[in-house]
Symmetry: C2
Subunit: 198 residues, 2 copies
Amino acid sequence: MTPQPSARERLLDAADDLAARQGMRATPVDEILGRAQVSPATLYAHFGNKDGLVVEALRRRLSRWEVTWQACVDEADTPEDKVLALFTALARHRSSHTPSRWCVFLGAAAETPSPGSELASTLADDTRLLVDRLESIAQEHLAGVPARVLAHRISLVYTGVLGMILRGSEVDPVIAEGRAIAALAIRSLADGAAPADT
Amino acid sequence: MTPQPSARERLLDAADDLAARQGMRATPVDEILGRAQVSPATLYAHFGNKDGLVVEALRRRLSRWEVTWQACVDEADTPEDKVLALFTALARHRSSHTPSRWCVFLGAAAETPSPGSELASTLADDTRLLVDRLESIAQEHLAGVPARVLAHRISLVYTGVLGMILRGSEVDPVIAEGRAIAALAIRSLADGAAPADT
DNA sequence: GTCTATACAAAGATAGAC
DNA sequence: GTCTATCTTTGTATAGAC
């Protein structure tokens, strides 16, 4: 007898799932309500409006992503693998959560030319987490490598993987490809900082 | 006395401009009509519906992009520069056309979970042009390098640049960064195929 | 907090005249 | 081909009862 989750939880689950699959703008409120088995009034009582609900769902997703990523960093052995754990995390995240068409945050950004301040800050949080976390991992584990530069380059490659998924690339191969390119970027910057031995 | 372009041209210009700035789905028909100074009936007489108009505008944009890219390839001197001309072309395209928020084709894909067949094929054309053209450039100018692999890797990096622009990165620096990463990918594959001279 | 019913707004498309 | 006026559908949000 699994007790049914609260209306609030059901709304968040439905909004998250549908935004991931179809995009937040492409998903009408009615569809979220139908999926959650909740009436309109309940949604607006809890979240104020559709954007409020979506923002909450995105925040929850971001914090889950952060946990997954951190776990993959912790599991990695070598310094290089700790930086590249980003790609392991992406694969794991995609298999453990509701399937998203590419990236829910980039998708929301693409769908929303003029996001409200709450949405904008949530989307910015996603990018900030990406770049800053990469930088701190690099700083901690790859002494001598310019961490900020590395973080930007790997962010670019990671974002490219997501974009290629939107283009229709198969997920696992393109993640592997991104990982390979990122590894190249790491070695290149490492060589530059401390010229090749041998 | 510049003669006013036909209603059809004005519609294409307006749709292209607005789709580039805001996204096709985020742009209401009324706004296109207002910008083009055209009445609704005219739009539907020419293009059938909104999607028909957008698809035509996207096709026109794609063919212009192809021209710009080819010109940059022709102008490049070294084999490596011919492959990397993609990034020169991106910078040039962005400065010579109406400013787009990131990429009109990826934007349309992101906004449209279930595109109609015409739109879907136009979006696929964009990706196919990207990958296939890169492959043929590599085949022609970089003998011995696995052209298909190279084309995929550079497509990924290029797509990453576009995605980073969506994330809010400054355009010129991120294009330069993408170019640098792509150069790395080229050299890596070249070294693998024909071990370094010297 | 939650429901039913409904109001209100936006957007896509068409009718009929010229 | 093009216009004015209007219809239809869809989508967001609220009123009022329980």
